[in-house]
């Protein structure tokens, strides 16, 4: 029934509204999907760095710098997803 209701609503809405609806749906999916990979990646990265620091505390400074670099590169993917979200939603 809800599918029918949706179809009825879609039939009555103008092209602009349809575009806005598709944009909003796509924006949600874009950000949600873009967050999966970097989430796993940053979790793994920080976990391994903590393990490295715990095993060798004297190397903590070096590991931390490299960890931030790695986080910056991994995070870029999620942020591009966020930018796509903004573009789909507002532009």
């Amino acid at each position: 029934m809800s599918v029918l209701a949706q179809a009825a609503a879609a039939a009555t809405s103008t092209p602009d509204e349809l575009k806005a609806q598709a944009g909003a749906t796509g924006a949600g999916f874009a950000y949600g999907l873009a967050a999966i990979g970097p989430g796993i990646g940053i979790g793994y990265l920080v976990g391994q760095s903590v393990q490295a620091m715990a095993r060798q505390p004297e190397a903590a400074g070096m590991v931390r710098t490299t960890m931030f670099l790695g986080i910056a590169f991994t995070e870029a993917l999620a942020l591009i997803g966020f930018v796509v979200f903004i573009l789909l939603k507002f532009v």
């Binding site: 710098t65 931030f68 670099l69 910056a72 942020l79 966020f82 930018v83 507002f90 532009v91």
Partner: protein, 254 residues
């Protein structure tokens, strides 16, 4: 209007109305924030250097320890001792980004200047041009291109694959990701804070739902602290990546 709080419309996220001039020479709140951030950065170092003493106190103490942090934590870790000549560029980059980020939590502004693409894009392009110039100056144009496009130690047949990837990642993706990282982080933080402020203001006028207000307000307070940390972290990450790129242009193979 609730409590004299008026939230700007959501379109302001992508285009802020100007209050002086229009189009490309329009001067708006973001430009004002950038001007203030530049003035604060200049004033910070001028005040720190004005009354220099052997035993640092006050502003001089903060300036000295933060420059020491950039020397030890960023340059020594990524470039090495001969990277000290880039200290002025990296230090001014760090403080300018930090001060313009911190406007996210300054009452009356509540908008990080870097949450607009123009500023970060300019800083990223500046860094991009700078590391290319440094590479050309230290290695010569031909050798620099050869070292960055044809990394040594790769089988010759693989250069068909490696060279386009290296070209895209070094000369196209680097400035783009540098700018987008700063911009998107600050914008995401700003939206997060706005969401909880709007939630707080809405819950206040919704009768019994005011009982949920403390949770929302707690989140708002905690996230404000978190965003101050993010402002520092993003300035640090931008500076350290600029240092890594400069170091890579100076010393081709590690």
């Amino acid at each position: 209007m609730i409590f004299g709080l008026e939230f700007p419309p959501i379109e302001n996220l992508v285009e802020w109305p100007t209050f002086l001039g229009k189009d490309w020479y329009g001067f708006n709140k973001i430009s004002l924030t950038y001007v203030i951030a530049v003035l604060i950065t200049v004033a910070f170092f001028v005040v720190a250097a004005a009354g220099r003493k052997l035993v640092p106190k006050g502003v001089q103490n903060i300036a000295e320890s933060s420059v020491k942090f950039i020397e030890d934590g960023i340059i020594m870790e990524t470039i090495g001792p001969d990277g000290m000549r880039y200290l002025p560029y990296l230090a001014s980059l760090f403080f300018f980004i930090l001060f313009s980020n911190l406007f996210e939590v300054v009452p009356g502004f509540h908008m990080p200047a870097n949450a607009r693409m123009g500023g970060p894009a300019f800083l990223a392009l500046l860094t991009w041009a700078y590391f290319i110039i440094v590479g050309i100056k230290h290695q010569g144009p031909g050798k620099y291109l050869k070292n960055s496009l044809f990394p040594p130690g790769v089988p010759v047949a693989l250069y068909i694959l490696v060279t386009p990837i290296e070209f895209i990642s070094t000369f196209l993706v680097r400035p783009f990701s540098l700018a987008v990282r700063l911009f998107a982080n600050m914008l995401a933080g700003h939206i997060l804070l706005v969401t909880f402020s709007v939630l707080c203001a809405t819950l206040w006028v919704l009768g019994a739902l005011v009982l949920a207000l403390p949770f929302s307000f707690f989140m708002l307070t905690a996230l404000t602290g978190f965003e101050i940390m993010v402002a520092f972290l993003q300035a640090y990450i931008f500076t350290i990546l600029a240092a890594v790129y400069l170091g890579g242009a100076m010393h081709p193979e590690h």
